[in-house]
Each structure stands twice: as C-alpha cells, then as structure tokens.
C-alpha cells in the first residue's frame, strides 16, 4: 500500500531547479533508500515531503489524500534529521515526549510518569541510559538512537524518514539501529532511508531511488543491482567536460607542505600545494575539510604535525600571522565569518590593509575610497557606490568583495571554502574564472573545498578526497569521478589509500 507519494513535484529556487518533475512513492512495510550527491535534490525532496517547502508544481499524497491542502497529514511523516537536535539540558524522558500535547500528556506533567513511560521505549531501542539522565551526558550514539525513538513516539506515524542516521553511530550501534528499523518495517510502516553509505543501503534496503541534479534518474529493487551500477547512476555515465577552469600554469615549486597534521576532526593528513595550482578537497559534509584548513590557518587548534610555507616553518594557531604571511581563508559561512554586515563595502575592503592607507593623521578616506573603487572595478562588483552596507549586496557580489579584499593582502595561498554556496549559476562561472586567473597570473596556490563534485572536477588540477577526517585518496584532474566518489563515501578506502601512497 502506498502511504506517501509525490506526483510530478517541481521546486524552484532563484536560478536553480532544485527538483524537476519528480515522481516517487513509498509503500508500507518497505525500506526505501534514497541516494544522490550533494546538491542532487535529496534535502529539497525531504523538505517537500515533510511540508517544510511547498513545491511550485505537483502534489504530495499521504494515505491517498492531498497533503498540501490538509497540512495536518504531514504529522504522519516522522522525520529524523541528520544533525542531532535534542535539548541537551533536559532529561532523556523529557526529550522523548516533547511536545507533551502530541505525546498524550495533558495539563500538568508528572516527571515520574514521564520516566515510567520512557522505560519501555528505551528498552525497545536498546538505549543504555536512565530516563532521568541529561541528554548532554549520554553518548552521541545514544543521542542518535534517542532521536529516532522520539520520532516514533507519536502513535499515528505512518512513515519514518531517516536522514543519514548512522553518521555518528559506532558499527555496533549501527547494527542495533538496523534491527530496530527492521522491526519498524515489520510493523508495516514505510521507512525512508537516506544515506551516502552504499554498504548500508545494500544491507538494509528493499528498493533504491537515485537522484542527480534535481531529477530522479533511476529506481530499482535492491536485489537487482550492485554497487558499480549505483555509482554510475549517481555520477551520470557521460562525463560533462565542456568547460574546465583548472590552472594551466602550475609551477614545479612546492608552496605549501603539510605533514602528518592531526586536529580535532582530522587525523594524520599530509599533502602539498604547488605555486599556481588549484588543489581540490572533496568529501562529505563533516569529513573534516574545513576544519583541516581552518587549523592550518590558525583558527582551530592543531594537535600534532608540521606545516611549511615556502620552505619555512609555519606558525600555527595565530590568524594574524597567517594573514600577514600570505595564507588567507575565505570562509564558507560568508554571512557570519566573511563579511562585516553593518559596515560599508569600502570599510569591508580596507579592513585588512589599513596600515597602507594612513595619511597625516589617521586613515585617509580618499585612499580608502580609491582602493575600494579599484577592487569594485577589477572584480566587477555590481554596486552603485562603495558606501553601501555590504549586507545589501547579493551573495555573489559579497564573495567578489571578499576575494578582492583578500587579494589586497598579497596572498600566497588562498583557501576557498565552498566559494559558490548560495550563489547562482552565472556568478559561479565568474568565481571559477577568477580562481583560474589568480592561480595563473599571480602564481597563487589555491585550495578549493567543495561538496559539489562537478565543481571540484571542473576547477582542480589535483583532487584530495577526505573521508571521516582521513585522507581517502589523491587523484589528478583526469581521474574517474566514480573513483573519487567511492573514496569520499568510504567505499574501498584501503585500496585507495594504497594507490595514493
């Protein structure tokens, strides 16, 4: 019986078709897996199926009724997000039953009753904690399981949607989770299992849908397919190599050497970067790419290992030193870490080179404006004047200001962390062209962190894959997309490591 169906749904965002006429149906008593690269449309689909987004076209049916017209139906879809969103300073029992009204607690809430009712649930999900413990004190594994238990508390759910539920689970706990999922399946509920880990899909799933570029590209029963088929479906058979933006002038001089670097989210990473080279870092969200770069930059701590820039020992843990010595990090969280929102474009540009803008007394407004205008012209920032507050610029133009500002510091290494996040397609190409120019003309070494495989393939001279904080492989620009993809999702990790050594 089909309990949740999406008919022909299309969801548009400015400049992007996030979902393109997608048809998908989920049946009771089946475990339906969904796979796709970052940006393939999985999360948009989830948000349409849980009622967070309203699609421009198409309908969502729950138990055969149109849920877009009757939003209460979305209560039948229990969704467990990828990140843990429990209340750390409340007890396990309280977390299970919040909001109380939905779990059948009316009026005053009696802690004893809550805790008594929590016991069977904790047993069912084999969570080894007491109901009165604070959630922040229990293990991450238990928290993950607790989240799933919480989603099933509401008796009337028909669909359980799990988004990457195993990312923070140990192997043992993953097996426990799978048993539980099978029990839920036996209860005749529909389970939607979204994961990057192919082995898990083959171990658990009944059927599989593959997404690519906002489209549903393949569907099959799990028993009829194998891993290579899935990977080829995910990447698309014909590799589009129409436009490449990798640097054509890679020098032989090594610029940056990183040896056995270990920090909080990454372990024993070694790599080098040449002058004029664009080095791509590929990996899933949470693979430790940003953390690695932020640690070299001095923003996060390094536990052990060595870094050399231009053959000289690099001082770690001091962002001021890094900026002064030509290592600049362009953050992924542009709004929070990149721009100074209330300040003008002019002030955002001049901030890192103020000592060069001094005149008689203090900062020269004239020199500052000239510099800002120069950056605006060179990097084609679309703005009427440089006195406008930067928060009113579009994401792409903000990014150009940040690039221009970084160039004023005469950098040797630029780290672009998801430089095109939230930027429309046209401006993306401009950013790629800029990176290529900077590498070729200014001989800068560029590190590109991106979750979009297309982007990394298009722009990089070399690609390093990270998986769970470890180097999972190193590839040249011509390498198979399949091989890189396998590495970042943890398939054949050992083999890849051997290859890279």
């Amino acid at each position: 019986m089909k309990v949740l169906e999406a008919h022909d749904i299309t969801k548009l965002f400015p400049g992007v078709v996030a979902l393109d006429s997608v048809d998908v149906a989920f049946e009771a008593g089946r475990i339906h897996c969904i796979i796709g690269e970052n940006g393939a449309g999985k999360s948009t689909l989830i948000k349409c199926l849980t009622g967070v987004y309203e699609p421009e076209k198409g309908e969502v049916l729950i138990d055969g009724q149109n849920a877009l017209k009757n939003k209460a139906l979305f209560d039948k879809v229990a969704y467990v997000p990828q990140e843990i969103d429990l209340f750390g300073y409340m007890s396990v029992a309280e977390n299970l039953f919040l909001p109380y009204e939905k779990s059948g607690f009316k009026g005053l809430v009696n802690q004893k009753v809550l805790e008594e009712r929590a016991v069977p649930l904790l047993e069912r999900f084999r969570i080894p904690v007491k109901p009165d413990e604070l959630v922040r004190d229990i293990s991450v594994s238990s928290q993950q399981l607790l989240q799933i238990a919480r989603a099933t508390v509401h008796e009337d759910y028909e669909v359980l949607m799990l988004d990457e539920p195993t990312t923070s689970l140990t192997t043992e706990d993953t097996q426990i989770l799978f048993e539980i999922i099978r029990e839920i399946q036996a209860d005749n509920k529909a389970v939607i299992f979204i994961s990057h880990k192919l082995e898990e899909i083959f171990q658990l799933g009944s059927e599989l849908t593959v997404f690519r570029n906002g489209k549903k590209v393949a569907y099959s029963e799990i028993k009829d397919i194998d891993i290579p088929w899935v990977i080829s479906q995910m990447t698309g058979r014909k590799v589009i190599q129409d436009q490449r933006y990798c640097s054509a002038k890679v020098s032989d001089d090594v610029l940056l050497e990183v040896e056995h670097l270990t920090g909080e989210r990454f372990t024993d990473i070694s790599f080098h970067l040449k002058k004029g080279e664009i080095l791509g870092f590929s990996g899933l969200v949470g693979a430790g790419r940003s953390e690695l770069m932020q640690a070299i930059f001095g923003y996060l701590p390094v536990y052990s290992g060595k870094v050399k820039l231009d053959g000289e020992e690099w001082k770690l843990g001091d962002t001021n030193y890094s900026v002064k010595h030509g290592f600049i990090y362009l953050p992924e969280e542009r709004k929070k870490q990149g721009i100074l929102p209330e300040l003008s474009i002019r002030e955002n540009i001049s901030i890192s080179v103020l000592e060069k803008l001094q005149s008689g007394i203090g900062i020269s407004r004239k020199k500052e404006s000239e510099l800002a205008q120069e950056v605006i012209d060179t990097y084609d920032v679309k703005t009427p004047d440089s006195d406008k507050a930067i928060q009113f610029l579009s994401g792409g133009n903000q990014q150009k200001v940040i690039i221009g500002r970084s160039m004023c510091c005469e950098p040797k290494v630029l780290v672009f962390d998801e430089p095109t996040k939230g930027i429309d397609v046209g401006t993306k190409a401009e950013i790629y062209r800029l990176m290529k120019e900077l590498a070729e003309e200014k001989n800068i070494g560029i590190i590109l962190i991106s979750s979009e495989m297309e982007e990394v393939k298009k722009c990089s001279n070399r690609i390093i894959a990270l998986y769970e904080g470890k180097k999972a492989g190193e590839y040249d620009a011509e390498a198979d997309k399949e091989a890189i993809l396998s590495a970042i999702i943890g398939v054949n990790t050992k083999e890849n490591q051997l290859k890279s050594e």
Binding site: F297, Y299, T319, N320, Y321, S322, V323, K324, Y329, P331, E333, K336, Q337, G338, I339, L340, P341, E342, L343, E347, S350, I351, S352, L354, E355, I361, G362, I363, P384, D387, K388, A389, F392
Partner: protein, 333 residues
Amino acid sequence: MSKEKAKKNNAIISALKKSNMTAMGVILILMIIIASVMSPYFLDIYNLQALVRDLAFIGMIGIGQSLLLLIGELDLSVGKIASLCGILAGMMMVNYGFNPYLSLVIALILGLVFGAINGLIITKLRLNSMVATIGMQGVYGGINLVLTKGKAITGIPESIYIFGKGNVGPIPIPFIFTIIVLICVLFLVKKTKTGRYIYAIGNSREAAKILGIKVDRIRIMIYSIVGFISALAGILYVARLGSSQSAIGENWPMNSIASSVIGGVSLTGGIGNPAGALIGAAVISIIQNMIVLFGVNVYWQSAVSGIVVVIAISFSSISDMIRERKQRKIKVN
C-alpha cells in the same frame, strides 16, 4: 519594485540607521526648548552649570561604555572602579601625604590597571562580560569598604578642588574633560586602525579573527581605556565633593548604558557613535533637572525619570523596527 525605488529605500535605511543619533539630537534640542519655556529657572546660569556638571560625569562614563558596547560587551564595574580610584587618590593625599597631582596620576594608572584586569579575566577565561563585571564590581566595591570602613575620606587638599568645582569662563571644568575624552575617543574610533577593528569585532567576532585582527588584544585594550576613563570621572568627582566616598558612581553603570543606547549605540555591537553617548547623557540629565524644576514629588522622581528613559530608548528600537520592515519589503520585491 523598480531598481531606483529599491535604491531610494536603501538610502532611507542607511539614513535612518545613521540618524539615530541625529534624531536624538533633535529631540534633545526640543527638550531644551520645552524646558526653557516651561520653567523660567531652566536657563538660569547656575542651573545650567549644575546641569552640565552632572551630565559631564554621566557623559564621560557613557562615552567609555559606548566603546565596549561597540564590540558587543559592557562593563558594570565602572562605578566601583571610579569610587575605588577616588578613595585610593584620597588616601595617598590625606593619609600618606603624597603630592596631590602625583596621587591623581597614580589613581588614573590604577584605573587603567583595574580595567585591564577586567579585560584579561573576560578574554582569557572566556567569560561573559556582564556576569564577569558584576562579580568584579563586588570585588572593587569590597576593597572600597575594607579601605574606608564605610567612612568618607575628608581633608582632600583644596588645590585640586578646581578640577571638580571650577569653571573656565562659564563652562564647568569636568565638562571640558568630558569633551577632551570625547575628542580622543572619536579620533580613536574614526581615524585609527584600532577604531576600525572595534567596529569589525562588533560586527562579527569570528569574521574579525579570520581577517587576522588580534581580537583579544583589542578587547583588553578597550577595557583598560574604560577603566582609565572611570578613574578620571572618579577623581574629578572627588574634587567636586572635596571628599572620597565609596558611594561615588552608584548609578553610573546603568546611566552610562542607558545614555549610550539613547544615543543610538547598539547593545549587540558594531553600530553607533560614541558622541551619541554624550547626547544620551544630556537627555538623561535634562530629564532629571526638569523633574526637579517642575517640582515632581520627591518619591515619584525616580519612577518618572525611569519612564522617560524607557521612552527615549524605545526611539532607537522603533526606528530599527521601521528599518527591518523596509528591508523585508526590499527582499520580497
């Protein structure tokens, strides 16, 4: 919406944002007119001098506090630092017979040190500035009591009275000090690298660190400056009273925050001009002065002045709300 209209709207927004202080300036002038029309004594030179002498102290502390507000922090120990420095200066002069001027200089340096201690504690132990300075004001206030046993230190050399009681022409000397402090702070904020970094830190501490700004160093520096300004206000007050008392500066923490906010300095950091704090201080002082002149019942004075301060603070938040609405309109279109 057409591009031009959007542009115009943006212009309105930035004007509104910058004009919090200007708007308060207009309101201040209106208040002065109303006060002088309604009370014949308001423009009396003795009344004006008393008023300006009062506002000099709130204004000076407010200017310091606004520096901290600009980086999104605040210091509630300013009053206690002021009275402690006043007491230390008094003890040096009276009990130990130090040269009065030397005593004042040492007290100023001690204020700088107390501020630096606040800054070090807050940055190195990663504390919330409000909670930490609530604790520190207890410490400084406690030292006050230990030193004085609650008694005022009298017998301050008359040679320093001029700093608190004197005038240059018609202008009270404490107010001249306040103007000097304002000019120095404005130069720091508007003309130097450090000033730009202050605004950067207030906008986003994370972004500032990624830009390579030595965030903690600047924070400690501002706490030190605020400690210094507090000490200056404290010793000027001692000179005004002719005695050192631990009760000096009791209302300064709250009044300094209120005057900054009235003057358009954002509590969350990054927005505002220290000159606004002086306008805010003038607003508060005139309110208090008017209450006295209009003969408001003594028991009601505090409530009335509180209400007017809340109304004055609301002006800036109302203009923020208008700004947000405009912004939303631009985004929707």
